[in-house]
């Protein structure tokens, strides 16, 4: 079986496509990533592109990735399979979008109907303007920029679009909303390029330009089935980050095994105090949280989980069921958050906007739940079912096969721990971060998550 690491083997394609964007490609892939990337791109062109353009009432979309930036932060470099170029998509009716790319190399030329070399367009990258000089002896040009959008004016005029989306921002703020806060999600074209493009298009078509910001986010936020495969299958095989440690919950020996031996882990001891150093020796009464999930070490004389661990786990199951049933295709993230908060309250929880225990609520003994169900897989956090993030995160609709982090926190008050710690306010906190996908049936789980079982260690 071929074992490749995309970042190493396809450094050109994968430049800067890492943890934030397609981190799931980075290792142990059972197949050829380039083929998978090409396939997903084509599926998206076929299934998603016509929809988002029609819904945005745009019949032409021009996206400029500047060559001198080497596609470093452009959010669509993976979608279009290139780190530089001028991409033009034209709605030709009947669900057909013509796909053209100029001034750039693309990973999968067959995904496009037109590429620059086949059209009257000069590539600065290849210094083709020198050919122009050869073809036009005695003539000169003012600047290489004269060639920047050569031919685009005619290309656009031939198609006579009514509304042209271009990748500049109009209402959204800078990179907020990307997973690393480094990608300017919707803002790519430079001032110079904008000026040159306007010149090439002429007044008539320049007036028809609109911001592509929402179109870009819409395109990024939708998924095809092949992306569910990618999301689910690679996560399923990555070993759950055991970090090469051989010890699992099953062979923990209380009083002997250290946290370091079971990989990244921390414990809450029987008095509610957290311990996380690698050399901490696991004790009876510890509740262990690690990349493998949760485990509890029985105290001497105990035969089952103590009430608070049992409740912690029962609460978790109830919360998951609420999420599973109530996250639906077509709702906005904000509307979904309101719905989930209501369902949680109806089920006896306190929904909290805070990522910490809030002692000022009406019912401080009730388990508090915080949600941050943000998108995963494309470096974009929206739609984000969460009180966090900019407003537009909440306005984005949840689409078919939306892949997202099932991230939530629970805070449970335990009177015994209060007493053991001079009423300083010790609570049992749970942090869950798994993966979900939204279908017609609600939330489903595409790969085994780590937190579906609590192990009892005798």
């Amino acid at each position: 079986m071929q074992k490749v690491v995309a970042q190493r083997n396809y450094s050109d394609v994968m430049l800067n496509i890492g943890d934030a964007n397609y981190g799931i490609f980075d290792g142990n892939a059972p197949y050829n990533e380039e083929k998978a990337l090409n396939h997903i791109r084509r599926e998206r062109f076929y299934l998603i592109l016509p929809r988002v353009m029609q819904e945005a009432k745009v019949d032409m979309w021009i996206h400029v990735i500047r060559p001198w930036a080497w596609g470093g932060t452009d959010p669509l470099r993976y979608e279009f399979g290139s780190k530089s170029g001028v991409f033009i998509f034209t709605d030709q009716g009947g669900g057909n979008i013509e796909k053209a790319v100029f001034e750039g190399d693309v990973q999968d030329p067959d995904a496009y109907d037109i590429i620059g070399e086949r059209y009257k367009y000069r590539s600065q990258q290849d210094y083709e303007f020198m050919d122009w000089s050869m073809d036009n002896p005695g003539k000169s040009y003012k600047s290489e920029l004269d060639f920047r959008f050569e031919g685009i004016g005619d290309f656009v005029a031939e198609r006579n679009p009514k509304r042209i989306a271009v990748n500049y921002m109009e209402s959204l703020s800078f990179p907020e909303g990307s997973e690393t806060f480094t990608m300017a999600l919707t803002d790519g074209i430079s001032y110079t390029d904008y000026v040159q493009l306007s010149k090439a298009l002429g007044d008539k078509y320049t007036k028809r330009m609109v911001s592509a910001e929402h179109l870009i986010l819409d395109y990024l936020s939708r998924r095809v089935a092949a992306e569910v495969v990618l999301y689910g299958s690679l996560r399923a095989q990555d070993g759950w980050g055991h970090g090469g440690k051989t010890r699992t919950f099953d062979n923990i020996v209380p009083g002997v095994t250290t946290l370091g031996e079971i990989g990244q882990a921390s414990v809450i001891n029987k008095d509610g105090n957290e311990r996380g150093s690698d050399d901490y020796v696991i004790q009876r009464g510890d509740l262990i949280e690690s990349s493998q999930g949760y485990a509890y070490v029985l105290l001497k004389g105990e035969t089952d989980l103590p009430w608070y661990v049992r409740k912690f786990w029962d609460d978790d199951k109830k919360i998951r069921e609420i999420l599973r049933k109530n996250i639906q295709v077509g709702f906005s993230a904000g509307k979904t958050l309101k719905l989930l908060a209501r369902k949680l309250e109806e089920a006896g929880f306190v929904y909290t906007d805070y990522q910490e225990y809030n002692k000022y609520v009406d019912h401080p003994r009730k388990t508090q739940v915080h949600l941050d169900l943000h998108a995963e897989g494309k470096g974009i956090l929206a739609p984000r079912i969460s009180p966090m993030g900019p407003k537009w995160h909440w306005n984005v609709k949840i689409r078919l096969f939306h892949t997202f982090a099932v991230e939530y926190m629970t805070y449970m008050s335990i009177p015994e721990w209060d007493r053991a710690n001079n009423f300083r306010g010790q609570q049992l906190s749970g942090f869950f971060h798994d993966g979900g996908v939204v279908t017609d049936r609600g939330m489903e789980v595409p790969y085994p998550d780590r937190s579906n079982k609590i192990h009892i260690i005798q």
Binding site: M1, Q2, P30, Y31, N32, K35, A36, N38, H39, E43, L47, V224, A225, A226, V228, V229, L230, Y231, G232, S233, A236, Q237, R324, L400, F401, V437, T439, D440, R441, G442, E444, V445, P446, Y447, P448, D449, N452, K453
Partner: protein
Amino acid sequence: MNENLNNEGKIMNKVQILLIFFSILLPQNLHSQFEEPKASPELMKLIREQKFEVILPHVMRDNKVDMWIHVKRKSDFFDFEFGEKPGIYIFTDRGGGRIERAVLGGQVDRELYDILAPESYLGKFVAERNPKRIALNYTDRASSFNSISLTDRKQLSKIIGKKYSKRIVPADRLAADYLAGRGMAEVALFGRLLMISTEKIEGEFNKIVPGKTRLSDISGNVFVRDYDGNEENNTDYVVQPGDLIGILNSANMMDFSEHNGGIGYVLRKGETNLPPEVQRIWEHALITRNIFRKNIKAGLTGSEQLEILIKKLEESGYVYIDKDQYDKTADPEKTQVHIDFHAMGRIISQEEAPRISPSGWGRDLKIPLYHTFTFEYMIHMPVPELGKGKHLYICIHDGVIVTERGVEFPAAPIQGIRIIR
């Protein structure tokens, strides 16, 4: 795929042939070369749990069944869905959108089942729930779903009494619907297996040395047809220039399986690219793929769907043929297309599941949302310049899923006819 068998009157279903090939070949050769995903306990639990949650309530209601009893004494085709242990598995629709899951007389994962009780509890259990319609694992036809033994059937009727015995119906359609339903973990698995089998097929094509390699040296279902439709299928026939070779190969995880296809052309002396007729047949493959892709949706039965596809094919200038054999009586100018879009995923579902095909029991079953199946179609293209009745043949076999948007490819379909030098 195998006209010779048809000619001899031994008409074997293509899927049966494939299964035989794979069961013989895979364990010896391919499994050792390619790592297939392991059925980890966590993954199996997730798949089972999801099917219980999102598929079971729908299929029980669709089949108007409020209790499903599956008596399992040994390993059977529901190992994948229910678990391997024997027992009486009882699923009861008690309202509220969830199905109660019980196992009587079996040791199963307590986290997946609500009730574990001794088998002696059966009579009381059924009576307490008072079901109106009880599906039981038998059918009135020859089928793998006929799995309850005569002894068990008699014993069960005796225990639940006349009142409830009268309410028993065959579970075959319910079972087929349940097996055909896919959770997202299965969709991810399906796509991953497709990618693995594609890699395997490429590996097999890489082995071919024209003039030396025999079809029997290549793993999978390997076939070549000449211009008269005569087929060499996994024989000692040595690959020759001018051959169009088809290879089907599979990937599995337990009883979850798919198989995929690839096509290669062996260049003749002096050829540097595919000859025009081979390029032409590939273009037909793409045109017909698009017709299928645009015209399949969830909710129709296999036979209803087939009628639509036949109409669309014919409107586009093709001749639909209900056998995988060139029809010498058809318009010699037109390319002929045969379809067998059978289910993929669960091995049993390749036979006992919704099927867009001229044959098979599953033709009358509805195609569910997220149904995983194959675009298996065969193109017989006349090549009149070579003489009357001469034709080229290819078989396309790609894994697909039907979603709200139509048909999607969870993994890359065949990209073209591969050139073998």
